[in-house]
C-alpha cells in the first residue's frame, strides 16, 4: 500500500484535574489515551464515536491546536510534534480544518471575501489581485455565486456558511483536511449537499480527509476506512464496508445496532446497549467497555486489550479476538 500521508502514534491528551487548597493535580481526564492510526493519500479516514470519546480532541491534538501530552504525529515525512512555532505555522498550510458550527466558525465582522482570503494572507500567497480572483474561483468551486464575496456571514443559511468554511479551507491548497462534524449542524436535505460537495472536491483536487463524526451512516457513506473510538481509545479500525458488514468489537456491534434505519420493515438485531458512557476522569479498569459489554470476563476487567490485527486490514482491541 501507498505511503501514509499522516501517521499518528500513541497520541495522548491528558487534562489535569486540580483539587484541594493548593490546586494540586489529583488526577487526569484521559481525553485521548494512546491513539494510533494512519491516513493514506487520497483516502477518507473516518473517526467515529459517541460524545466524549475523544474524537474531536484527537483531531485537534494531531494538528497541535491543543498540545498533545504524548505521542508522535508524522505528516508527509515530518514529525509535527517536534516542530517549533514558525515551522508549525508553515506546515498548517497543508492541513486545514472544517468545523461543526458554521455560525461560530466564521467571523461575523468580516465579509465572505475577507474570510476566504485570510489564510492566503497568512501564508503569503499571491498578490492582492490574485487573491481576489482566487476567492471568486473558490466561491464558484463550492457552489456559491462569486458575487457573494462582499456579503457578511449572517446573510447566509447554515448550509451556505458551511460551504464558505470549506472554501476557506481550500484557499491554501491543503493536502489534508480535518473535517470535525461538518454536517451535524445542518438540515437533512443540506447534509447530503455538503457530503456530495466534499466528495466532488476530493475527486477534483485529490484531497485527503480525516472525517470526524458521530453519525455512523454518514461516516459509512463517506469514509474509505473507519476508526471507532470509545473513551479515548480506538477499539476497532477497518475498511468501511468491512467494518459495517462484519463488525468485531462488541461496542461497534452495539453502536451499529443502535442506528435507526429509515425503513419501517427493518427490525434491528442485537442487544440494546445498557448504561451510559463512563466518566473519562475515572475510567473502568482493564477494557474501558467492560461494564457495558455482554461478553466481559474477569480478564477484561483486569487487562486492557491492545489494538491487534485480526484479519487483513482489520484491527480490533478486544480479548475475544486474542
Amino acid at each position: 500500500m501507498a505511503e501514509p500521508l499522516l501517521t499518528v502514534e500513541g497520541l495522548k491528551k491528558y487534562y489535569p484535574i486540580e483539587g484541594g487548597v493548593w490546586r494540586k493535580t489529583i488526577g487526569y481526564v484521559k481525553a485521548v489515551d494512546g491513539v494510533s492510526f494512519e491516513v493514506f493519500k487520497g483516502e477518507t479516514f473516518g473517526l467515529v464515536g459517541e460524545s466524549g470519546c475523544g474524537k474531536s480532541t484527537t483531531g485537534r491534538a494531531l494538528m497541535r491546536l491543543i498540545e498533545p501530552t504524548e505521542g508522535r504525529v508524522v505528516f508527509a515525512g515530518q514529525d509535527i510534534t517536534a516542530l517549533d512555532k514558525r515551522m508549525l505555522r508553515k506546515l498548517r498550510k497543508d492541513i486545514q480544518m472544517i468545523f461543526q458550527d458554521p455560525f461560530a466558525s466564521l467571523n461575523p465582522r468580516q465579509t465572505v471575501g475577507q474570510i476566504i482570503e485570510e489564510p492566503m494572507i497568512v501564508h503569503k500567497i499571491g498578490t492582492k489581485a490574485e487573491r481576489k480572483k482566487r476567492v471568486r474561483e473558490l466561491l464558484e468551486v463550492v457552489g456559491l455565486s462569486s458575487a457573494y464575496a462582499d456579503r457578511y456571514p449572517h446573510q447566509f443559511s447554515g448550509g451556505q456558511r458551511q460551504r464558505i468554511g470549506i472554501a476557506r479551507a481550500l484557499a491554501v491548497d491543503p493536502k489534508l483536511i480535518i473535517a470535525d462534524e461538518p454536517i451535524s449542524a445542518l438540515d437533512v436535505s443540506i447534509q447530503s449537499q455538503v457530503l456530495n460537495l466534499l466528495q466532488d472536491l476530493q475527486e477534483a483536487f485529490g484531497l485527503t480527509f480525516l472525517f470526524i463524526a458521530h453519525d455512523l451512516s454518514a461516516v459509512h457513506h463517506f469514509a474509505d476506512r473507519v476508526g471507532v473510538m470509545y473513551l479515548g481509545r480506538l477499539v476497532e479500525v477497518a475498511e468501511s464496508d468491512r467494518l459495517y458488514a462484519s463488525p468485531k468489537h462488541p461496542y461497534t456491534k452495539a453502536l451499529l445496532a443502535s442506528v435507526p434505519v429509515p425503513d419501517p420493515d427493518y427490525k434491528s438485531e442485537g442487544e440494546v446497549l445498557q448504561g451510559d458512557v463512563p466518566n473519562p476522569a475515572d475510567p473502568p479498569s482493564g477494557c474501558a467497555f467492560h461494564p457495558r459489554c455482554p461478553f466481559a470476563t474477569d480478564h477484561c476487567r483486569r487487562v486492557r486489550p491492545e489494538l491487534k490485527t485480526v484479519e487483513e486490514e482489520h484491527r480490533v482491541a478486544c480479548h475475544l479476538y486474542a
Binding site: 459517541e50 443559511s157 442506528v259 429509515p262
Partner: protein, 369 residues
Amino acid sequence: MRFGKNIFYYRSYNVAIYVGLAAKGGGLLSEPILAVKGLKTTFYTDDGQVPAVDGVDFSVRAGEILGIVGESGCGKSVTSLSIMRLVSAPGKIVDGRIVFNGEDITHASEKRMRQIRGDEMAMIFQEPMTSLNPVLTIGQQLVEAIRIHRKTSKREAEAQAAEWLKLVGLPRPKDLLKSYPHQLSGGMRQRVMIAMAMVCGPKVLIADEPTTALDVTIQKQILNLMKKLNRETGTAIILITHDLGVVAEMCDRVIVMYAGKVVEEGPVKAIFKNPAHPYTKGLLASVPDLRNRKKRLYSIPGNVPKPGEITNGCPFHPRCEWAMDRCRGSLPEWAALGAGHRARCFLHDMKDGIAPGKGESHGGTAVNR
C-alpha cells in the same frame, strides 16, 4: 405487563381504558383524541408577519404514535407549541381549531389549559437540562408535577414518583429523588423528563426532538422506553423529529411538513415505500443507508426556506425538479392515494394518479443519481 396499580389507582378507570386500547392496538379506534384543523400560527415581528404554521390539518388517534417530520423552520415545533397553547407573543394562533378529547381548546382559558397541560397532555423537549429546574431536586419536581393535578399527600406523591423513576428504567429511585439534575447524565435526564410527563397518565404526549441531543446508544434506549410506555399505557405520542430513521422505527403514521404546511400524510409504510411528494422522495433519497452504500447521495437542490419566504403556490416549487407553471401559481389540493395516504402535489392530479412515466423516473432518479 407490570403497570403498578399504585400509580394509577387514583384513576383506575383510566387504566382499564388504557389497557383496553393497548390490547386493541390503539389505532383501531376511529375517534381521534386530538384533531388540528386549519391551524395557522403567525409571528408578528418587526420585519412583518411570519406565518410559521400555515394551515395545518391532522389528527391523532388514541394509542398511536404520529410522527411529524421536517427540517428547521418547517413549523413542526410551533405546531406542537400551538397545540399546548404555549405560543407566546409575538406569536399568535390566528386561525384554525384544536380539538382535544372532544373539547375545543383553541380559545380555552389559561386556567383550563393549566389543568390540561401536564395532566391530560404532556410534553418533553429536546434539551432535558434546560427543561429541568437546576435548583430543585428531581423528587421535588416530580412531586410538584403530581400534586398540581392530584390531591395526594406528599408521601404518596413521592412513592408514585419513585415508582415512575423505576418504570422509566432508572436505578435506585429513592436516592435519585434527592439528586439534582446536574448530577445526572443526558440520557438519565431525558428519562426523568419522560417520567415527569407520564406521572399523570396523559392521553397525548408530545415529544419534540426527544433524542436529538443524545448519543445513538442512549437514543435507542429512550426510543425503546417511549414505545414500551405507549404500548402499555395507551398514551398517544406525537413525535417531532428530523430523523427519518427514528420515524421509521417508532411511528404508526407520519406527516411531512415543509415551510409551515403539511405536504404529505400517511401510514409509515406508505410514506417510506411509496413516498408521493417530491420533497418526501428527495428527503428519503438523501439520507445514507447503512445497509447499502450508494456511490453518491441524492440531494435536493437549494436551501431550506425561512418561514414566510415562499408566498405563492406550492412551498416546495423553488426546489422541485418537477415544478410546473401551475405549481408556482396555486397551492395544490390534497390528492388521495389510498388508505389514509395523501399528498399535496399536482403530479398526482393527472390521470392514473401520477404523471405518466414521470412517476417511474421520479423514484428512479432519486435513488440512482
